[in-house]
Each structure stands twice: as structure tokens, then as C-alpha cells.
């Protein structure tokens, strides 16, 4: 509040310089494009070291209390730091379930004991966190979670299966949504929220091989897994409310997250930059009218997305459907990303048939992998089809 523009400007310059100086060199193996793609120990250790370094330099958890490893300053500093991370294209902050979900929840509502026990490990990347919301048969219908947690003395006994657990095989803790009461009238009222240990008997995190051939998620099986009763957050039956609160933190530092960027944005510039090396019919590809026209279409689309973010902040220009831009944003961005990446492959000629691991694959197979990974965003968090329903019903008021 009392921060001046000048201070912020100076801070930005300082972060920027640090990022520039400390951005790690290419490690010689493919890095994950998002926190959902950490598939090897090699990647994990590299990212752990990088997050630790950023935290040690004071650029993570800036708005969290100093006593738990945070910086104790205004969130706006973190926002700036995050922007600079993205701008300098530094590696991602992989431990995002801790930094952006579990951490802020503990800061906001945790006990003193929980804060002491968990927060610093999240920031330093010592403790990796995962998320246990989705289940195999429920798609994105979280309220329908079936995994059971039964109180037995000072423990809960957990039985059931979670899926799409990011880094489930590496994580030390999970934020777990489980059913403590199967007989409530509203299905939501039977859910409870736990900060569960992962490295205990009865929990098996089986890596899921993705479309890309890589890993990043697990299917997580609980078989009579016993966790201390004090792992519960809040009271029994408050799980749904807490889970919904958790999802709010995703909105970034201003909403309480510890910061860090969790995915590499792939923009049209990345594509255009590389096209100079491509040819078609023996001529530079960028001289082909059809390719040019397709690129211009994509540029217009990406520019409109970017300008949409600006316009969303201008009240008088959003009076028709006030939440149209923010609510359709995930749909528009993820579908654009998918098409753009698919198009990128189409430009590579015979080399488009090569894949990650081939020395001659353009950009190491970056676009092939990026295209395949784009489905995690058009499917996860509500498929594009479901998102379209939501926009149609909530924004346009069309009947269900």
C-alpha cells in the first residue's frame, strides 16, 4: 500500500538482472514445459535445485510470513518477480501444488504447528506436494469423490484410488479430498480435506505414461493406508469448502500463492522465429502465401487473446457479458494452443515425422511434444466441451 512506483521499478530491475545472471544453462535434456510433465529424476533434481536457488535469492514466497521462510512483503513484489521469471523464460517452479495450493491454504487457515511443519519445505523445494482430487470414474466431478477415509482411533484409514496425481511418485505430501461420510444428503457434505503423507505403507503411486511417452502423473492407490488423524484440515465434512477455497489461490500471488511460474508459455513468436530455417518447394517457407496467411490468422487470434486480457479490465467495454472474457479464457487459450502447435508440426515437412530423441528433430521435437501435451489443457480442468457448455450456460444464459 505504501509501496511507491519507484520502489517497484527498482525491484523489477533487480529481479530482472538476477534472472538474467542466474538463468540456468540448457541442461542437455528436455525440461518439462509445465509442472504436469516432470517425468524423470533428472528433471526433478534440476528443478528442485532451481527452485531452491530462487527461494534462497528471495524471489519465492515473498508475501508469506518471514517466520516460515517467506519474505513478509507486499504481494505485488511477488507478482513482479513472477512476471520477470516468465519474461526471462527461466525454468518453471515445479512444486506448484505446494507453492500455489497447499501453501497458501496453510498460511491462511493452518495451525501454528502446520505452518512450522510444512511451509519452509514447500518454498525450499525440499518437500514436494501433490494433489489428490480427481478419481478414475469421476472425471472432473470432484464433488463425487468416492475414496473413503474412516476414523479409527487417532488415525484415518484410507481406501480408494486417485488419478492424475502430479508427481505422485515424488511427492512427500498430498492434499487429499476424501469421503468421511457416505450417507450425507448432499454428496458435498460427506467430504473432508487432508494433508496426507505419501511415503507410507498402503499408498502406491503408479506412474502414468502419457501420450508423449513421458511421465508426470500417477494413479495413486490407497489400501488401508493409515494417516494421523491430525492430518485433517478443518472439520469432517468441510472438505468441499476447503477444496474450493484452494482452487482460488491459483489466481497468483495476489491471491496468496507463493509465486513462481508453473508452465512455459508457448507463443507464436517461438514458431515464427524458427521458420527461417524451413523450406518448401526449395524456397523459404516464409514466402509461401498459404503459410503466411495461416500464420497471420494465428497472430490475429493470439493478439486478440492478449488484448482480451486488457479489455476484461475495462468495465465499460464488457457490459454485455461481463464475465465472458475471463470465463472463456481457458477455453480460448487452450484450444488456440492446440491448433497452433499442430500447425507448427505441419510446417516441418518430412522432419515433422521425427520425434523427441531424434538428433534431427526440429527443436528437439519441441512442437510434437508441445502438441501432445496441449491436450492436458484441453482435457484437464474441464474438457473444452464442458468449458463450452459452461460459457454457453453461464455467460449467454442458454438452457442446460
Amino acid at each position: 500500500m505504501s509501496v511507491t512506483e519507484k520502489e517497484l521499478g527498482e525491484f523489477r530491475a533487480q529481479v530482472s538482472a538476477w534472472m538474467k545472471d542466474n538463468k540456468p544453462a540448457d541442461p542437455g535434456f528436455l525440461l518439462p514445459q509445465s509442472f504436469m510433465e516432470v517425468g524423470s529424476e533428472q528433471q526433478l533434481e534440476f528443478l528442485r535445485e532451481w527452485q531452491h536457488k530462487m527461494w534462497a535469492a528471495g524471489y519465492l514466497g515473498m508475501a508469506w510470513p518471514r517466520e516460515y521462510g517467506g519474505g513478509g512483503v507486499e504481494p505485488v513484489f511477488q507478482t513482479i518477480a513472477d512476471q520477470e521469471m516468465r519474461r526471462h523464460l527461466v525454468p518453471i517452479c515445479f512444486n506448484i501444488i505446494g507453492l500455489g495450493w497447499a501453501g497458501p491454504l496453510i498460511v491462511d487457515t493452518g495451525t501454528e504447528q502446520e505452518k512450522v511443519r510444512y511451509l519452509k519445505g514447500i518454498l525450499s523445494a525440499e518437500d514436494i506436494w501433490c494433489q489428490g482430487f480427481s478419481e478414475p470414474d469421476n472425471g472432473s466431478d470432484l464433488g463425487n469423490a468416492q475414496i473413503r477415509a474412516v476414523r479409527d482411533g487417532d488415525e484415518y484409514v484410507i481406501n480408494g484410488t486417485k488419478i492424475w496425481t502430479t508427481m505422485g511418485n515424488y511427492a512427500k505430501y498430498m492434499i487429499l479430498l476424501a469421503r468421511t461420510n457416505p450417507n450425507t444428503e448432499r454428496k458435498y457434505d460427506g467430504l473432508s480435506f487432508f494433508l496426507s503423507p505419501m511415503k507410507i505403507e498402503g499408498i502406491e503411486a503408479r506412474p502414468i505414461q502419457k501420450l508423449t511417452g513421458e511421465y508426470g502423473f500417477t494413479e495413486t492407490f490407497f489400501t488401508d493406508a493409515r494417516i494421523p488423524a491430525d492430518c485433517i484440515m478443518g472439520e469432517e465434512g468441510e472438505g468441499w469448502k476447503i477444496a474450493m477455497k484452494t482452487l482460488q489461490y491459483e489466481r497468483g500471488a495476489e491471491a496468496g500463492a507463493a509465486g513462481g511460474h508453473s508452465f512455459v508459455r508457448v507463443v507464436i513468436d517461438d514458431l515464427i522465429e524458427q521458420l527461417g530455417a524451413y523450406s518448401r518447394d526449395g524456397e523459404p517457407l516464409l514466402q509461401d502465401s498459404l503459410v503466411r496467411d495461416q500464420l497471420v490468422k494465428l497472430i490475429i487470434e493470439e493478439k486478440a487473446l492478449s488484448l482480451g486480457d486488457r479489455r476484461a479490465g475495462v468495465g465499460p467495454l464488457t457490459t454485455d457479458y461481463p464475465f465472458s472474457l475471463p470465463l472463456s479464457s481457458k477455453l480460448r487459450i487452450t484450444e488456440y494452443a492446440r491448433r497452433m502447435r499442430q500447425f507448427a508440426i505441419s510446417l516441418q515437412g518430412a522432419a515433422g515425422g521425427l520425434y523427441v530423441g531424434d538428433d534431427e528433430a526440429p527443436q528437439g521435437g519441441f512442437w510434437q511434444r508441445a502438441y501432445f501435451n496441449s491436450f492436458s489443457a484441453t482435457i484437464g480442468g474441464g474438457t473444452s466441451q464442458v468449458q463450452t457448455n459452461i460459457v454457453g450456460e453461464h455467460i449467454l444464459g442458454l438452457p442446460k
Binding site: D293, L295, I300, E301, L317, T388, E393, G397
Partner: protein
């Protein structure tokens, strides 16, 4: 530097007030019944409505105060034109504004002082640019000879039936020039009206042959080419504004129908086959609107730079596509009703066909964008 380039979007309180006033005015003055009443009138608009618009200051809103305008620039005109597009309200506002911009940007001070105050206070004017259907054809067949005599004709002159002043693109002394022709100089029968697919619009062929011009009514020199370039972009921008408004209104019409019409026992808006394309209309319109107000943010009275050119072309390309899609789907989604003249969907699909061509279609603009962005 990103290929996205300039991505500023600002909207002042003044613009917000103008938008508010314009939307309310257009809604009041131009309900669809009023639009339909004008479909087969000669002028295509209600002169009383036009007079009120003039008295609200909109004719001169983009002109400098020195010439009787409000000095708010084109960026203040955009919300007005968008609102008109939304209400399908046709008036000579855009034609007059573009003719005024041509004089402002191309003419000398004497010409501006002599003509612009009239235009700012409601005298109607228009541009006469095309000699064939090709917006990309830069040849000029209309000639002003050494004696100041005009020969040749122009096609697709908007609002020719009402314009008091014609700004005519001509060749003079081997270079592009602009002839300022007053309505009373036209020969009898010089105007022959077009039948347009968008029945809210009016345009005509005009034969300018034989008209004698005073020196003061000819704009020559280097300013002509830059003024022409700018005005073609501003024309694209204002057409985009109108199209964006029309696309939004078309969407509203579809949504309204989908929320009330039942088929096979269900509200038809519950069918994803209709719901999902309707969401596409929304996102296409949203994109058009974002690009539109970005362009409105960066165009100025100065010669338009590369950023402004990119912005105007993108706005036109996107708005065109958004309205073409919306109009086409509006007819289809209204079912049998959509196939009637009585259904408002026809107003939008017809507007869409006209809009796509006015000041160049999206292919035209994307081709130029490719050169601006990729070379």
C-alpha cells in the same frame, strides 16, 4: 520484440460516456421496426434521427476544434459507430466522417477551414474511390485534365443519394489527387443507384464527367497518397466497428431465440449442436471487439504508423469473419423461421455480405498483414 507488437488498450471516461449515450440513443431511435421501415426508402435513413445525431456532436466528434469539431479523434467515433452497427442504424455518419478525414489529412488549411465546419455541423459528404470491384486495384481512371475538367465515373459510392459533397479520387498531372465536387455540380442522371444486398445501406454509381473544378477544389501533392492510405485504414476500422456491433446484436438475437424456442420438447438452446457454435459466435465477437478497441486506442490524427495499420487491418479481418459466421448461423439456427424475410436473421446475414467487402475483405487485409508482420 514480439510479433504481437503493440497491445495497448485504453478507454477514457469520455469514451465510456460516449459509448453509453450512443448505445442508448441507437437503441431508442433504431428498434428493429424502425430499421425495417427504412429498408426500401430512398435515403435509407431517417433525417430527423440524423439531425439529432448532429446535434449530439457526432458529425464533428473526430474533427479538431479549430474546424468546429470536438477534437476527440477517431477513437471517439468508434463507440458511436459500433453502437450504430448494433442497432443496424444507417446514417451518413461514416461516409461523412471519412470524407472529412480525407480533407483534414490531405487538404490544405484553406480547404479544411472552408469545408470541415460544415461537415462538423451536419452537411453530409462521402468518398468516391472505386472504379471497379477490386479494392486492391490502385489504378485510377478518373482524370482531372489541365483545364480542371473531370472525366470518368466511380462505383459503390456510399450514401451518394444524400451527400452534398463528394471527395473523388482522381488522377491529375500523372499523380493521384482528390477532387471536391459539390452535389449541385453533378449532371442530371449522373447518379444511378445500386441495389445492395444490405438493404439498410445505400450506394450508387456516379458519372463525374464534364464537371469543371476550381483550383481550390482540387487536392494535389504528396499529402494525397498518405491521406488516402490513412482513410482506407480508417474506413476499414469504422467498418469493423459497425460489423462488431452487428455481430453482437446478431448474437443477442440468436441467444434470445435459443432461450425461447422449443423443439422435440426441449428449448433448442440446450442442444450442444446449437449451443457450442453460439459460444463460437461469442468468442469471435469478443476477439473482434478487443482488436477494435485496441485499434481505436492507437489511431490518431497524425499519419497512421505501422502499429495503427496492423491494428486497423486486424480489426477489419476479425470483425468480418465474426459477422459472416454469426449471420450464417443465425439463419440456420432459426430453422424455417430463419428462411423468412420476416426473421431478423436476414438483416444480419445481408449486413455480413456487405461488410465483408467494404474497404477490403479479410483476405485483402491478411495479405497486407503478412507483409507487415512477417517480412
Amino acid at each position: 520484440m514480439s510479433v504481437l507488437g503493440n497491445t495497448t488498450l485504453k478507454f477514457s471516461e469520455e469514451q465510456a460516456m460516449i459509448l453509453d449515450t450512443a448505445r442508448e440513443f441507437c437503441r431508442d431511435k433504431s428498434p428493429v421496426s424502425a430499421v425495417r421501415e427504412q429498408l426500401d426508402t430512398e435515403l435509407g435513413y431517417d433525417t430527423g434521427t440524423w439531425d439529432e445525431m448532429v446535434s449530439l456532436g457526432w458529425a464533428g466528434i473526430a474533427l479538431p476544434e479549430a474546424y468546429g469539431g470536438s477534437g476527440l479523434g477517431i477513437s471517439a467515433l468508434v463507440p458511436v459507430v459500433e453502437s450504430m452497427g448494433r442497432a443496424l442504424l444507417s446514417t451518413p455518419l461514416v461516409s461523412t466522417a471519412l470524407a472529412a478525414q480525407m480533407i483534414l489529412r490531405g487538404g490544405n488549411t484553406e480547404q479544411a477551414e472552408r469545408l470541415l465546419p460544415d461537415l462538423a455541423s451536419g452537411t453530409t459528404a462521402t468518398l468516391a474511390l472505386l472504379e471497379n470491384a477490386d479494392w486492391g486495384d490502385t489504378r485510377i481512371g478518373c482524370i482531372v485534365d489541365a483545364n480542371g475538367t473531370l472525366s470518368g465515373s466511380k462505383k459503390y459510392v456510399m450514401d451518394a443519394g444524400t451527400a452534398q459533397l463528394f471527395v473523388v479520387l482522381v488522377e491529375h498531372d500523372g499523380a493521384p489527387a482528390l477532387a471536391l465536387v459539390r452535389r449541385e455540380q453533378l449532371a442530371d442522371g449522373a447518379i444511378s443507384s445500386h441495389t445492395l444486398i444490405d438493404q439498410t445501406k445505400r450506394a450508387a454509381n456516379i458519372d463525374f464527367s464534364g464537371i469543371s473544378l476550381a483550383d481550390a477544389d482540387l487536392i494535389c501533392g504528396e499529402t494525397v497518397a498518405t491521406a488516402l492510405g490513412d482513410v482506407l485504414l480508417l474506413g476499414a476500422l469504422l467498418t469493423a466497428a459497425e460489423a462488431t456491433g452487428s455481430a453482437a446484436a446478431c448474437l443477442d438475437t440468436v441467444v434470445e431465440y435459443l432461450k425461447t424456442r422449443k423443439q422435440f420438447g426441449r428449448l433448442i438452446g440446450s442442444y450442444q449442436a446449437l449451443k457450442h457454435p453460439t459460444v463460437e459466435m461469442l468468442t469471435a465477437m469478443d476477439s473482434a471487439r478487443s482488436l477494435l478497441y485496441h485499434a481505436a486506442t492507437i489511431v490518431t490524427d497524425e499519419t497512421l504508423g505501422k502499429d495503427a495499420e496492423i491494428a486497423c487491418r486486424m480489426a477489419k479481418a476479425q470483425a468480418t469473419e465474426a459477422l459472416l459466421f454469426a449471420g450464417d448461423r443465425a439463419v440456420q439456427f432459426h430453422g424455417g423461421m430463419g428462411f423468412t424475410y420476416e426473421c431478423d436473421a436476414q438483416l444480419y446475414i445481408r449486413r455480413a455480405q456487405w461488410v465483408q467487402q467494404q474497404f477490403g475483405d479479410s483476405l485483402h487485409h491478411r495479405k497486407r498483414l503478412a507483409a507487415l508482420l512477417l517480412d
